[in-house]
């Protein structure tokens, strides 16, 4: 049931691919300003769910409401004004520059022509400066490292100027340091800009550390969901990963998740 401060409400979403059920009666809601993590093993339906929310895939049944409005009949342009998506990885064939990639994020705002004006260039530059990657503006996207590419895609999503960000495993290809740099950045922009972020994650430690709310999926069904403090425990993680898990604490009281067989 949708509440007043829910920005996104997903109700009874089902999706099948070639008769195989991928998502089964998915229902959850996210409040404005939250970072909501979608956690689950490979094949649990996290990415499919994100694509259904962004309407790249058409769900068989159920509804998706943004600020109370069912987006079923919305055009692609309308949806692009509501939510921006950051893919897990973007490999492109042509040698677009970082600035060109970022400006493409604003296409839905540029009117019929889809062509940016001078002011859009300076707005894009401001975002690059905010993320401290202004030096990459004229570099070719293809020549960047994995972490830099991820920063560029986040900058493009910010340039899209939407209230909701959808991020699909943004840290799965990155080294340990980069993983935390990107997650800290996502947390900062969500708070500073008053965004709502839906993020799929493989790493339960990152989910526990950075998310306000967690949706835990296994085999296309929600196993647990709720505020992070209520659902982030060994039993819920064991239920989604089908393995024994323990949560330990550092001297500072930070939780970390371990497989139970590690001493």
């Amino acid at each position: 049931m949708m509440q007043n401060n829910d920005i996104l409400a997903v109700e009874d979403i089902c999706f099948s691919y070639r008769e195989k059920r991928i998502l089964n009666d998915i229902t959850f809601s996210v409040k404005a300003g939250e970072i909501c993590g979608l956690l689950g093993p490979n094949g649990s339906g996290k990415t499919t769910l994100l694509k259904c929310i962004n309407r790249i895939l058409e769900n068989e049944s159920g509804s998706i409401r943004i600020k109370g409005r069912n987006i079923a009949g919305f055009s692609r342009e309308d949806i692009a004004r509501l939510m921006a998506s950051v893919p897990q990885e973007l490999n492109i064939v042509f040698a677009f520059t970082v600035m060109q990639i970022i400006l493409m994020g604003g296409t839905s705002r540029f009117g019929f022509s889809g062509i940016p004006v001078k002011r859009d260039y300076s707005n894009a530059m401001e975002i690059l400066e905010e993320l401290c990657i202004e030096h990459l503006a004229e570099r070719r996207y293809n020549e960047l490292s994995g972490g830099e590419k991820q920063m560029v895609l986040i900058a493009r999503a910010l340039f899209q100027k939407t209230d909701i960000l959808l991020l699909d495993e943004p840290i799965s290809h990155l080294d340990f340091k980069r993983q935390h740099t990107i997650m800290e950045l996502i947390k900062k922009i969500t708070r500073d800009r008053g965004l709502t972020t839906l993020i799929t994650l493989h790493d339960p430690n990152a989910a526990g550390r950075y998310c306000d709310r967690l949706i835990m999926l296994n085999r296309g069904c929600i196993v647990h969901q709720g505020l992070r403090d209520k659902v982030f425990h060994a039993e819920s993680l064991e239920a989604i990963y089908d393995m024994r898990i323990k949560i330990e604490y550092t001297d500072r009281g930070t939780e970390y998740v371990l497989p139970d067989y590690i001493q």
């Binding site: 692609r76 692009a80 998506s85 064939v93 042509f94």
Partner: protein, 336 residues
């Protein structure tokens, strides 16, 4: 700045090609004569006696041929850019989608079974090129990875029309119809009339204009379907627009001049290397470079000692090694 220099360079190159093409040939026309004829036409001054023959050659023979080469070169190059963009592959061309073989089949059909007039051949070539692309779209627009299925559908439709074209060649009368089909398949601008130029001008300029208006969609589609969708583009309708207008301009060029191989692929590829992938600059750049490329190759085949050879032979001899060189160069870049 670098890009502006590239634009100025190819515009100058095109102008030089135009002057070279208008003045060179079996009947040499001097630059002063060319200027006199053009200024007489513009100002309405009566032509002097000695300008009568050059004027006739220029206005009846060379000018339509030069304009047709410019239009067809631009159309093929922009067609190449469009199909490379929507297929996200810098090494595809309209012929990958069956356009070329569809057009050859249509022209052969007209030559054998219907009227051999230029209008009949052109309209048959044109309609079958469109039919080939529609067939590709109907077969290929299924499944999750539409881009791959479209390319495979292109190969299927091309192979089918190639086989059907061979059957028609087998059935053709070897003395009258077969030479006409063969000439059409090898391409040439030697039978171009003003009426062909006007028809091609209307279709090609409208086609390129529509493609240019929607250029931002082409940029997004070059990133991938899901990327384009998440940034607000209706991928299905955009793909239909680009395939339809891309085919329209290529077929409009081919229907008057026959099949001209490699220009679409080579010019689009070189343009991307020089000016970059942004279609705002890429489309006009490729159009100008394509015009200059086809004009210079047509002029060369026209002045060949021993008589004119079909243009596709020359563009293929020039294009194939050039494409091989570009591939090797690109592979080395990837290794580095």
């Amino acid at each position: 700045m670098k890009q502006n220099t590239a634009f100025v360079t190819i515009i100058i190159l095109l102008l030089l090609c135009v002057i070279f093409a208008l003045t060179t040939g079996q009947y040499h026309i001097r630059l002063e004569t060319l200027w006199d004829v053009i200024s007489c036409k513009i100002t309405g001054r009566p032509l002097s006696h000695e300008l009568a023959i050059p004027s006739m050659i220029l206005w009846s023979v060379r000018m339509p041929r030069v304009l047709m080469a410019i239009l067809t070169g631009a159309a093929l190059a922009v067609g190449g850019v469009v199909f490379q963009g929507i297929m996200r592959n810098p090494l595809v061309s309209p012929s990958f989608l069956g356009i070329t073989h569809g057009a050859v089949f249509g022209a052969s059909l007209a030559i054998i079974f219907f009227s051999k007039t230029a209008l009949s051949i052109e309209s048959f070539a044109f309609s079958w090129a469109i039919a080939a692309v529609l067939l590709v779209y109907l077969i290929g627009n299924r499944g999750i990875n539409t881009m791959t299925t479209l390319v495979i559908a292109g190969v299927i439709v091309s192979t089918f029309f190639q086989a059907a074209g061979s059957v028609l060649k087998y059935l053709a009368d070897p003395y009258e119809e077969l030479p006409a089909i063969t000439f059409w398949m090898l391409g040439g601008l030697n039978n171009v009339l003003w009426i062909n130029v006007i028809r091609a001008f209307v279709i090609i300029s409208i086609g390129i204009l529509v493609i240019y208006i929607f250029r931002s969609r082409l940029n997004l589609m070059a990133l991938g379907d899901e990327e384009a969708m998440s940034m607000g583009i209706n991928v299905k309708s955009s793909r239909i627009i680009f395939m339809l207008f891309g085919t329209l301009i290529v077929a409009a060029g081919s229907s008057s001049c026959g099949i001209i191989m490699f220009v679409d692929l080579i010019v689009a590829h070189i343009s991307r290397m020089i000016i970059g992938p942004d279609h705002t600059r890429l489309i006009p750049f490729a159009a100008i470079l394509g015009a200059a490329f086809l004009l210079i190759t047509d002029t060369i085949v026209r002045i060949m000692p021993g008589g004119e050879i079909p243009i596709s032979i020359f563009t293929s001899f020039l294009g194939a090694p050039l494409l091989g060189y570009l591939l090797i160069k690109q592979a080395n870049q990837w290794k580095a």
